[in-house]
Symmetry: C2
Subunit: 484 residues, 2 copies
């Protein structure tokens, strides 16, 4: 690979770092307003990051060209690495004094919208740091929507391109269409966040809590301003608000754009939406009924807590209103498998995602038919669309890469002496960007504080791997990637 390619790929990360530096002034302002000394640290971080980012940007500036596939992979990975490191700066330098492994873990957990935390005592944390955590998740959320709609499909790594959604009129002034789509996308992301904050406030949250939780809900991030997460709040209203907005955030944003900005109802017919809402409904219903039968608690409470905590897992948000691992072995098993699922492609959610299950299901049906009638060749379909070989291959590659990464991360964690349950669910929840694992340490009632630094580095890498849909990172480890 030419040095010029690496230089060109660095430029977008440097430019984006300038915006991230600017966003550090928000927590600075909040800390100044609340009289917390951390405001100075945020200002210094902001200026330092801005200066370095501008210098790098000036040094790597090059005429805008249509990049190669390889340089696009590099751009994506560098962007997320930059976000992770720049985001860690305030955690490392502020009054909290996290060490390097902890600061990077917290930042990577934020920007990958995973939401696992190594900070305990959130309730007493300065507001600036709390807001910084939420802002990082919110940026990470909109970043991953853009990634999933524009870049990953282009790289054949995953998901459906927005170009397919807009295919009918993309020929006509494509760049203008793209910019208007991008503006609508960011607009709807902001609109949903605002609506969610208003709804949370109406359901009883303080304004600060409402804004923070709205940002981490729409990002399906799961960071909270309280150690008890949603267990801090009273009543079912706040749980239902959370459930609705988590589900919305796990829908494809391309389709939300078509629906809200262009009034196109037909967009909702995407098969992955039906499957996603189908498995959420099925799991919540079965578990709520099982809990009702075994406990006899009021059904409205059971339904609200089941819907909230399991929508939270399936949309890969990771909020918890209580320790659902105490609901019995069936709930624990469901929580484990729900961690794999995820929402729709082009959303903020992680995991394997509904469209991959649809394609795997179609491959299974097709394969079984071919076993019975070996000569009945028939095309594979996703809704009315034909799924080509390339798409099928990318799904299989993802699953193989996903499982292999899970095994490697689990073995590394258990080699540090972590127990089996913490190891397999810690690596899993990192890879799917959900947040909580199982067991007493990292379960919904715990956090990642007790883990060793080595385990935190392993999990930071695993979260990035999961967020970039595995393959976008793994290609960089293939020697031929770097060869000319």
């Amino acid at each position: 690979m030419q040095p010029s390619t690496i230089r060109t790929a660095t430029y977008p990360a440097a430019i984006f770092a300038v915006y991230v530096a600017a966003s550090m002034l928000l927590p600075a302002a909040v800390d100044l307003y609340y009289g917390n000394d951390d405001w100075e640290i945020f200002v210094v971080c902001s200026l330092a990051t801005g200066a370095i980012a501008l210098t790098i940007a000036a040094a790597t500036r090059a005429p805008l060209t249509r990049g190669s596939t390889r340089s696009t992979f590099l751009v994506v990975v560098l962007l997320w690495l930059m976000l992770g490191l720049v985001g860690a700066l305030p955690f490392y330098t502020a009054s909290l004094k996290l060490d390097l492994a902890e600061a990077v873990f917290e930042s990577v957990s934020a920007i990958t919208t995973t939401g696992s935390t190594v900070i305990s005592g959130l309730d007493n944390l300065p507001p600036g740091l709390l807001l910084w955590r939420s802002i990082l998740q919110w940026i990470g959320g909109v970043g991953v929507v853009a990634l999933g709609l524009f870049l990953l499909p282009l790289l054949k790594v995953g998901g459906f391109s927005y170009f397919r959604v807009e295919s009918s009129d993309i020929e006509n002034r494509p760049f203008e269409r793209f910019i208007s789509f991008l503006i609508a996308l960011v607009g709807i992301y902001c609109l949903l966040t605002a609506l969610c904050a208003l709804a949370y406030a109406a359901a009883g949250m303080s304004n600060f809590d409402a804004v923070n939780h709205a940002m981490t809900t729409i990002a399906t991030g799961g960071f909270s301003t309280h150690d008890a997460s949603f267990g801090y709040f009273e009543g079912n209203a706040v749980l239902w608000v959370g459930t609705v907005f988590m589900l919305l955030a796990a829908l494809p944003f391309s389709i939300l754009v078509l629906f809200f900005a262009r009034g196109r109802l037909d967009a909702l017919r995407d098969p992955q939406i039906r499957l996603f809402l189908g498995y959420v409904t099925l799991i919540v219903t079965v578990l709520a009924v099982q809990r009702r039968i075994t406990t006899g608690d009021p059904f409205d409470d059971i339904l609200a807590s089941t819907a909230f905590n399991f929508a939270s897992i399936i949309t890969t948000t990771g909020f918890a209103s209580e320790d659902y691992t105490l609901w019995g072995p069936f709930a624990v098993t469901l929580a484990f498998f729900a961690t794999f699922l995820g929402g729709c492609s082009g959303s903020t959610s992680g995991g394997i995602k509904a469209y991959r299950f649809l394609i795997l299901g179609a491959m299974l049906r097709n394969g079984l038919r071919l076993l019975i009638h070996p000569h009945s060749v028939q095309a594979l379909r996703y809704g009315k669309r034909i799924v080509d070989e390339e798409m099928q291959r990318s799904v299989v590659l993802f699953i193989v890469g996903f499982l292999a990464s899970w095994v490697v991360a689990t073995l590394l964690l258990s080699a540090t002496g972590l127990d089996f349950l913490t190891s397999i669910t810690g690596s899993l929840t990192a890879l799917t960007n959900v947040g909580p694992g199982l067991g007493t340490t990292i379960g919904p009632a715990g956090n990642f504080v007790p883990l060793s630094d080595f385990a935190k580095w392993v999990l930071s890498a695993t979260m990035l791997l999961g967020r970039l849909e595995i393959l976008a990172v793994v290609v960089l480890l293939v020697p031929t990637f770097w060869r000319d």
Copy 2:
């Protein structure tokens, strides 16, 4: 499907049942010799089974024709169902008085060479019943070798056909070659069993124990004549004998035939053999070194117990010489993932198997290369052989079916109230035909006695599913299978 097809497919099962009935006379003879009353029950079971089997055989007899793919699937499933039911008869009727779910579980666990047991107090069990368990595993073992070499590849469900191995001279008198191959296969199966029994006896086992354990070693079955399994025997010699013969039994028998009966060394170059021996060596070495560092016990004891217990898991035999789950979280995690691996195709072992990992690995490498250089089309290879689309599809289908079956079985088990660890590892060990799971109930120091009847039925079905490589059973659940 025509009634005549079902009738024709029943015939082989009925004929085979006559042989199984005859084999019941062996435990009858042993019980008679040791003066145990069960001998009469074995004789009655034998006569009853023989009479019914002959009646059904007479009723379903039809001229030998080349069967359709669908009827072959039906033959395979009916054969294993028959074996499971006929094998259960002595457990249900003998002095032991197992109930129906237990008797079927024990029999299915035997004929699928899984080796999970619902009998505690093996040390005091009458010799006839102990021998019957071993005989069932031994029959199941040779059955699955034949299945894997002749039928599953024909059905495109898994593995390499023996016809490929023999391709150089198959054109010349194919039927005669087939029969001579079959005779050599059974001969080598018997020879290995005899050698194993002699080696066990030389290493200190009683003759009865040596014969029983030899049968269940070569079948990679794992039934023992003692509750403590290999923990009953003193010294490392018996562990090394077990390790060597388990590894031999997990090699492709087609290649053992070429090697032993025809002296062809080149047969050992099959890539799956290298991968299989490679991952056994890697896992045993890493774990033995880790155990040596953390405990300081004598290295020869550590190496013997690590090699034995982990070769036992990886070859899907399931013997245990001690409770390896007490070796720490790294050993537990390795044991969990080792349960997936399995040996070679065309062997008696279960699990995913080495050749599928080779094909998945080739697909991953190929796919990553295509992500980097989208137009570099290149054929997928297994050794020097090209892996066609059909083979790739069958591997992907298997993995999807395997994971889906695992999820369903786990959910069913945990719905009965079984804890998470028992549920996920119980279903897994049944699906891969290994034998022990993790946790205090079904771990290497436990057994399946405490499980509910429902859980036993679920596990019996899962063991059959796993033994018939999932797809051979699942096709029967597709409605089009039964349509004309």
